[in-house]
């Protein structure tokens, strides 16, 4: 069986921007190549201004490459029909404040050619998916940041695209909202939807992505499977609950008896601040 | 595509697009101007006078709105009897809205009627100056109306208004040659009739003007006969003038007999001709009227003290009386 068409195929992308003065060219993206196969969740990470957003815009045809090419499921990004199979959530999106949540989804649905009952069903389904059924008829002007991000995600999904592109999906969102979004991304992955996201929040990328690329000053520095990239091959971690001091000393002794292995460290694992915050706030909500 | 290439193509397309539409727009513009559907460009003087803001509004396609506004201003000038300001304002108004008959008629009326009467009664000026001011106001009103007619060819009402002014007993004494004035008035009424839109009274008014012009009696008689053929035109003034013109044509005519034929009964003939006899200020000709009246009074046995010849005529009223002291 032939290899399936990649969901995203960026080949040797270069993008120069003209700076206002002295005709100096600024190279925002320098020879970046990315290939994402269907079903993958790919995280592009890098500091602000490293070329993440420009890469995504080029993939969506919002900017034209200086050289190189971008394609979505084999279709050139500069052509309109490449956008049939993609949903996009821009960084800090502002949707039309005068529309309600449902109206927003209907608007984008109609733009994709959906109509009638199919559209109504799709709108309800997505509102349920992003947990905004209660805010269905409220105008977006009254939405919180997290709600906006979620309606944005629903909007990106409206025509059931096979690829979803998310630019800093959790920027400026509080941890609860951030986790909701993370859960949504995981749901997308379960459904077999390819996700291409970029972020500078490493922890978040680590939690959801299976493939990662690191971009710095326009250049791709490192790329590959997340597990391959971050695993410390020669170490093993054991986490034990309610261990008695005797058990610990027995294990330590066992390790000491080994000729090849050595003990690096013992201690109590710490929860992350994020996890602590989430535990406290969700408990507070439940009670 | 480079930015300069794109801009170049755009500019070229813009000019080419302009070159295609230019002749079309020009021909439509010429057609509209010919039909009087687009007013001529604003005079620079008007732009200056109405002020920057109003000019901008007028240039923004709202000329009639500015005219409406100025008309209100002109009315307050009129109430304050500031005749120069009234005239100036109407100059601007008609420049903005040259196709509105009302402005031409009102502007000329303010000058030839209101301003002129004001000078008749203004005792603060010496009589000679009042007379000159009176005459100038009438001339100005006439000239204004004539300009309106040139701007609105085919408007019967403006023509008829001018004819009315030229035959008005209070106005024609301002012009040097009454006969020439009456002829002009008749020609003006004729043009109004020629537009095809004028009601029948304009035709009669044309005749009343012509009947007063010395030397045009034959022409007037032909017109009188033609008008008389239509029963709707048989009004006392027209009937009396028909009699006068017949008598002028044939001095030996038995005018009393004709009067009875025209008016039906001797009583009605006497009443109508008496009225005609007394209207001296309008300068209607009276050939044969005296003899007809004499004969009719005899027929009806009118006592001498009640004879029309013993009743006073219209009190003379005109520049000679107004400006005598």
């Amino acid at each position: 069986m032939a290899e399936p068409t990649p969901a995203v195929e960026i080949k040797g992308l270069v993008k120069d921007f003209k700076t206002s003065f002295r005709r100096q060219m600024l190279r925002a993206v320098d020879d970046v190549s990315i290939r994402i196969m269907p079903g993958e969740v790919y995280g592009l990470i890098g500091p602000n201004g490293s070329g993440k957003s420009t890469t995504m815009k080029a993939l969506l045809g919002l900017v034209a490459p200086t050289s190189g090419s971008c394609a979505i499921f084999g279709k050139d990004s500069l052509k309109v029909d490449s956008r049939n199979d993609v949903g996009f959530l821009p960084e800090n999106p502002y949707f039309y404040k005068h529309l309600s949540g449902a109206e927003t989804l209907r608007f984008y649905g109609k733009l994709c050619g959906l109509k009638g009952k199919h559209l109504d069903d799709r709108v309800s389904e997505l509102l349920a998916l992003v947990d905004l059924e209660n805010a269905r008829d409220r105008r977006l002007g009254g939405y919180s940041k997290g709600m906006l991000q979620r309606i944005g995600l629903a909007q990106a999904m409206i025509q059931e695209p096979r690829l979803v592109i998310l630019d800093e999906p959790t920027a400026g969102v509080d941890p609860v909202g951030s986790r909701q979004i993370r859960d949504l991304i995981l749901k997308l992955r379960e459904r077999g939807i390819t996700v291409f996201l970029c972020s500078h929040l490493l922890e978040q990328v680590q939690e959801v992505c299976d493939h990662v690329g690191i971009i710095f000053r326009g250049k791709m520095v490192k790329e590959g499977r997340l597990e391959d990239l971050i695993a410390i091959e020669d170490q093993t971690e054991i986490i034990i609950k309610d261990a008695s001091p005797e058990l610990i000393s027995q294990i330590t002794a066992l390790v000491g008896n080994s000729t090849t292995a050595s003990l690096v460290r013992t201690g109590k694992p710490r929860t992350t601040l994020e996890r602590l915050f989430l535990r406290e706030t969700t408990q507070g909500k439940d009670s | 595509m480079k930015a300069w290439q794109r801009n170049g193509i755009l500019l070229a397309a813009l000019l080419a697009f302009g070159a295609i539409r230019l002749p079309l727009e020009k021909s439509l513009g010429d057609e509209l101007r010919k039909d009087g559907l687009v007013p001529p460009p604003l005079e620079i003087g008007t732009r200056d006078k109405i002020g920057q803001t109003s000019s901008a509004v007028a240039l923004g396609g709202l000329r009639t709105l500015v005219a409406t506004f100025l008309n209100l201003r002109a009315f307050s000038f009129f109430q304050e009897q500031r005749w120069e300001d009234v005239a100036d304002t109407f100059e601007m108004i008609v420049d903005l809205a040259p196709r509105t008959r009302y402005y031409w008629e009102t502007g000329s009326w303010h000058s030839a009627y209101n301003a002129a009467s004001y000078y008749i009664n203004n005792s603060s000026m010496p009589s000679l100056r009042r007379k000159e001011a009176w005459r100038a106001a009438i001339y100005r009103g006439r000239a204004f109306l004539e300009r309106g007619i040139r701007n609105n060819p085919g408007d019967w009402s403006l023509l008829s208004t001018l004819g009315f002014m030229l035959t008005d007993a209070n106005k024609f004494p301002a012009f040097r040659d009454p006969d020439a004035t009456f002829i002009t008035a008749a020609d003006t009424y004729q043009k109004a009739v020629d537009t095809g839109n004028a009601p029948a009274f304009v035709n009669r008014a044309q005749f009343y003007a012509l009947a007063r012009a010395k030397g045009r009696e034959t022409e007037a008689l032909a017109l009188a006969r033609a008008l008389y053929a239509d029963p709707k035109n048989r009004l006392p003034t027209l009937q009396a003038l028909l009699l006068v013109l017949e008598a002028h044509e044939n001095p030996a005519l038995d005018t009393a007999k004709l009067a009875v034929e025209l008016f039906g009964t001797p009583e009605r003939a006497l009443e109508a001709l008496s009225g005609h006899w007394q209207r001296t200020r309008e300068r209607f000709p009276v050939d044969g009227v005296a003899s007809a009246l004499g004969a009719l009074e005899q027929t009806l046995a009118v006592p001498p003290e009640k004879s029309i010849f013993n009743k006073p005529l219209q009190v003379p009223s005109g520049p000679d009386q107004w400006f005598s002291k």
């Binding site: 815009k57 969506l60 900017v63 309109v80 029909d81 199979d85 993609v86 949903g87 996009f88 959530l89 821009p90 502002y94 039309y96 608007f107 984008y108 109609k110 733009l111 050619g113 109509k115 909007q155 025509q159 592109i165 459904r191 077999g192 | 755009l10 397309a13 813009l14 000019l15 697009f17 302009g18 070159a19 230019l22 727009e25 439509l28 513009g29 057609e31 509209l32 559907l37 687009v38 007013p39 240039l59 923004g60 396609g61 709202l62 000329r63 009639t64 709105l65 005219a67 008309n71 209100l72 009315f75 809205a97 196709r99 509105t100 009302y102 009102t106 009627y113 839109n197 009601p199 709707k232």
Partner: protein, 308 residues
């Protein structure tokens, strides 16, 4: 999940343009644009009171007030439609770019032409609907007032013993100043002029960076457009009398590049009671369409290459 593998119907250009137009219309309506209609109602009713004491006979009773109603109403319509066309068009595009809503729209399978045409159409629908409402209001006011005037005129004419034919002529003339087809044509001409301005503002906004710039330039062109033809004729005639080549070329470039609104002054003639031949309206419509199409295509030409 079968639908994922099926090709998704993209819908026609026309449908998409309508969706975007409908949205732009809603957006403007929710900006409370229609409150202006209340102002218009006040103006239409107030213009009834600009009635001056009249001179002479029945023919001039109230004619002035009919003209006043028309010129105030059409004047307000012109002002409103031009301001709305320019400002709304100048506002909608940069607002979408600034709020990044444009990204979400263009990231859908929406050709850029559809987006532009939709925005323009939305503004035009709004202008058309508002003008139609104002037109109805004006026609009602005019109808009531002109029938009142006609009754007065005829009563006075009969009291003065006018013959029937004179009364008929008077009636016909008053009808010319009442609500009639020429007046509807004039309102349509107001709409046409507004559409030209909207499409021009669209073109300017595709390469301008601010709403303010687009608005100012558009208004400037609007005013120049009204005497552009005069300047052109004056220059061309002066050229024959030995004017410099440079001046003539400048005049030519000006008249080629800027729109000519002179012919729309036919609206003034209608206010003055002239009849507008149907052919004139047809020609004006064609000219309006020609401008709107050209400007829209030119906007697309710039916008298609634009990067965000």
């Amino acid at each position: 999940m079968s639908s994922i593998t099926e090709p998704i119907a993209r819908g026609s250009h026309f449908n998409r343009i309508l969706v975007i137009a409908g949205h732009a219309f809603t957006q403007l309506v929710r900006m409370k644009v229609f409150y202006f209609l209340a102002v218009f109602a006040v103006i239409a009713i107030a213009s009834n009171f600009f009635d001056l004491p009249q001179h002479e006979g029945p023919e001039s009773i109230g004619m002035n007030v009919l003209r006043s109603i028309k010129s105030w109403s059409l004047g307000t319509m012109t002002l409103f439609s031009v301001v709305l066309s320019i400002v709304a068009t100048a506002l909608l595009l940069p607002k979408d770019v600034e709020d990044r809503t444009l990204y979400t729209i263009l990231a859908k399978p929406v050709p850029r032409f559809d987006y532009l045409a939709g925005k323009l159409l939305g503004v035009l629908i709004l202008v058309f609907v508002s003008l139609a409402m104002m037109d109805v209001l004006m026609t009602v006011v005019l109808q009531i007032r002109s029938s009142m005037i006609l009754t007065q005129q005829i009563a006075m004419a009969q009291a003065q013993g006018w013959p029937q034919d004179a009364i008929e002529s008077l009636r016909a003339e008053t009808a010319q100043h009442g609500p009639n087809w020429a007046l509807q044509g004039a309102v349509f001409a107001v709409f046409l002029r507004a559409s030209i301005m909207a499409s021009l503002a669209l073109l300017i906004s595709t390469f301008s960076t601010s709403t303010l710039f687009t608005t100012i330039i558009s208004f400037l062109i609007y005013f120049i457009g009204h005497f552009q033809a005069d300047a052109r004729d004056a220059y061309l005639q002066a050229g024959q009398a030995g004017e410099g080549v440079f001046a003539r070329m400048t005049a030519l470039v000006f008249s080629l590049a800027l729109p000519d609104f002179q012919n729309f002054n036919v609206i003034d003639a209608v206010i003055e009671g002239q009849a507008m031949p149907l052919m004139v309206l047809v020609k004006l419509s064609l000219i309006g369409l020609y401008y709107a199409l050209f400007f829209t295509i030119a906007s697309w030409f710039v916008f298609a290459e634009k990067e965000f």
